[in-house]
């Protein structure tokens, strides 16, 4: 019997997922830890539309007129800025959270597409460095595996203050993924539940960060671009402070950004949507007179060329993808549905990255499961996806008459909802109304 067909009514407040969560908590006595990002519905790039050219604007021909995609990151202070073929990069994800095969796949795919990939809270592996043409090395509170040789081997350094899935929280990796290799890289006992610090151990606040950035530049002879990554919360202030601290690039990760392991309550209830954060970041950069001089990378729920085009139109210089990249590798693929169901999940629902039993061989350290992911094939799939994203964004940009993806501008956008109009600071479609403008 289908309950609804018999007039039974499910509570909107206590829906089935909520009931399950209460029952699970009552049974286990501990909060739910999971992977993925926020699953609740949020104002997002879907709530924006691009205004293609017609009479008052002049479009570009799809297959004949150029729409360039190259972007340079780190032009402010670094001797060797990153020159990428497309403004979509791969976000930081650790070896440990991901299998060596997944990390290699990300490196191969990004390199084939001419873009960068990023280490994570666990250090740099030789495989990752070897397969990544452009590798961004994260500098995190834990400093697991941090060493000056890898710092010098990196193409850019990303000082991580937070991530969108858990602004204010430290890394987490459960014991089933702390294998001998992972433990060795992090100087931890094998099999423990790792809890990373949420604050950096040797600096506090933006004034100290300026000195920390100076030190990193001195160690690497001012060659590498230095990024500062923040989880989206008080983005306007955080971006201003990051610029004052000397960042070449600011990375803003919205609350849809993914994680390998975090408390569900943290993922769903802390931070602000990417759409709300991006205009704040751009405003901060513009007010400081450094928009486009300090580049802005935006991540958190970027799923394709449309999201990318809209983020660029709002003023980002590039976007970063994490969850979408893993899906491109095979995460949540229907071919693993039976395996997911054995774990109590299903294709399209799987978020137990913390558990280490990922049937797709991505968020696991199990040798047999990891072996399911062929890095060459994974790299090919990711490169394909990155190419499609880029071509989709080009299609939209040409329609708006832009000869470069970075020529997209807020004027090309309208909003479908009042919320998204207020957050993105573009007019509600068919009106001149930007809620909150001029206040």
């Amino acid at each position: 019997m289908e309950p609804a067909s018999h007039g039974l009514r499910e509570s909107a407040t206590f829906d089935r997922a909520t009931i399950h969560a209460i029952q699970r908590a009552a049974e286990t006595g501990i909060y739910d830890i999971r992977g993925w990002g926020a699953k609740r519905r949020l104002p997002h790039f879907d709530d924006l539309l691009l205004l293609g050219a017609s009479m008052s604007r002049y479009p570009l021909e799809g297959y004949r007129e150029r729409c360039d995609t190259d972007v340079v990151l780190g032009t402010r202070h670094a001797k060797n800025p990153l020159r990428l073929a497309t403004p979509v990069t791969i976000a930081g994800m650790s070896f440990g959270a991901l299998s060596a095969q997944a990390k290699e796949s990300l490196g191969r795919g990004a390199s084939e597409a001419g873009t960068s990939t990023t280490t994570g809270d666990g250090g740099m592996t030789p495989e990752e460095r070897g397969h990544s043409k452009h590798l961004v090395y994260q500098y995190l509170p834990s400093r697991y595996g941090m060493n000056p040789d890898d710092l010098r081997a990196a193409d850019a350094i990303e000082v991580v203050l937070g991530q969108g899935a858990k602004p204010g929280g430290g890394g987490m990796l459960l014991g089933q993924k702390i294998t001998e290799r992972v433990a060795g890289m992090r100087t931890l006992p094998v099999g423990i539940d790792q809890r990373s610090a949420c604050r950096h151990p040797d600096w506090t606040g933006p004034d100290d960060l300026a000195i920390k950035i100076l030190e990193l530049r001195e160690i690497t002879d001012w060659e590498k671009p230095i990024y500062v990554k923040v989880g989206a919360t008080r983005t306007y202030y955080d971006v201003k402070l990051a610029v004052h601290a000397g960042a070449d690039v600011v990375v803003v990760d919205g609350m849809q950004g993914g994680t390998a392991a975090t408390q569900d309550v943290f993922i769903e209830h802390v931070g602000i949507p990417t759409l709300a954060a991006l205009p704040q970041a751009v405003q901060a950069l513009q007010e400081l007179g450094v928009h486009r001089e300090v580049q802005l990378i935006v991540s958190g729920g970027i799923r394709g060329g449309a999201d990318m085009a809209k983020a660029l139109a709002l003023g980002a210089d590039a976007v970063a993808i994490g969850t979408a990249a893993l899906i491109a590798l095979g995460d949540n693929h229907p071919k693993y549905d039976a395996d997911y169901r054995e774990l109590g999940s299903a294709a399209g629902y799987f978020d137990d990255y913390q558990d280490g039993r990922d049937p797709a061989g991505i968020s696991t350290q199990d040798e047999e499961l990891s072996a399911r992911l062929d890095p060459v094939e994974g790299g090919r799939r990711l490169a394909n996806f990155l190419r499609v994203m880029t071509m989709e964004a080009q299609t939209l940009a040409r329609a708006c008459g832009k000869a470069h993806l970075l020529h997209l501008e807020p004027e090309d956008l309208v909003a479908l909802t009042i919320e998204s109009a207020a957050m993105a600071r573009v007019p509600l479609a068919g009106t001149q109304w930007i809620p909150g403008a001029g206040l």
């Binding site: 501990i30 100087t187 931890l188 151990p201 100290d208 920390k212 030190e215 160690i219």
Partner: protein, 224 residues
């Protein structure tokens, strides 16, 4: 003869570039006047004597070099050092030797809060006292305190070992006093000798992790 660099005349950038290129094995740095990032990122077996006080991150990420500060050091001296020896003749500010992976850091005077925070294999010998939260989340290596230790010593400790000669104001979560066995007396004697100190190892107590927080358990809720 040591190569002389006077920071009253040359910027720190020039000093560090020279130390990274390492045309000389012996260096003397004058007038540091609290400058930040002095002698950081050295990767060769150099000897560097800094004549005065330094700011943040002196000798950061040191590899192989012997760096001596003839004065006091600001925040994060020898942070993330990998090898070699860093010695502070005076006192050190907070986070001395933070996240250090190897080598020996000696502070002749006192060290402030969070000395050896998140240490990952470095050995630290402090002649005087250390401030609160020292060796917080220490993963590996040894911290020797010849004076007293402040509050919450060794909080959330992993496998780092701590030796204290004086009093400990309080121990942090999951840090306990442990038996001082012969092998510990022996390693402590070696560390004191390396730091050129003459304290008797028998006068120290040993602290380490109770390893009760290694796994998330509902019973530990209060400790989180």
């Amino acid at each position: 003869m040591a190569t002389l660099i006077d920071l009253a005349e040359s910027p720190v950038r020039e000093l560090n570039q020279a130390l990274h290129e390492a045309p000389s094995a012996s260096w003397r740095v004058l007038n540091p006047r609290g400058a930040h990032a002095v002698a950081c990122g050295i990767r060769d077996n150099l000897t560097v004597d800094v004549e005065g006080h330094v700011g943040y991150y002196c000798a950061g990420m040191n590899q192989h070099a012997t760096v001596t500060v003839h004065g006091n050091a600001g925040t994060g001296v020898a942070e993330n050092m990998m090898s070699g020896t860093v010695r502070v003749r005076g006192n050190a500010s907070q986070s001395a030797g933070a996240t250090g992976h190897g080598g020996l850091l000696v502070i002749d005077g006192d060290a402030s809060a969070r000395c050896g925070i998140s240490m990952k294999g470095v050995d630290i010998v402090v002649g005087g006292n250390v401030g609160h939260m020292s060796a917080f989340m220490g993963q590996a290596g040894r911290l020797v305190v010849c004076g007293d230790a402040g509050e919450a010593l060794g909080d959330s400790l992993y496998e780092a070992r701590i030796y204290v000669r004086g009093t400990v104001k309080s121990l942090g979560a999951d840090c306990v006093e442990k038996e001082m066995r012969a092998e510990h007396l022996a390693e402590l004697a070696e560390l004191l000798k390396a730091a050129e100190r003459d304290e008797d190892p028998a006068g120290f107590r040993r602290y380490g992790s109770a390893r009760q927080l290694y796994h998330f358990k509902v019973d530990n809720t209060a400790a989180y």
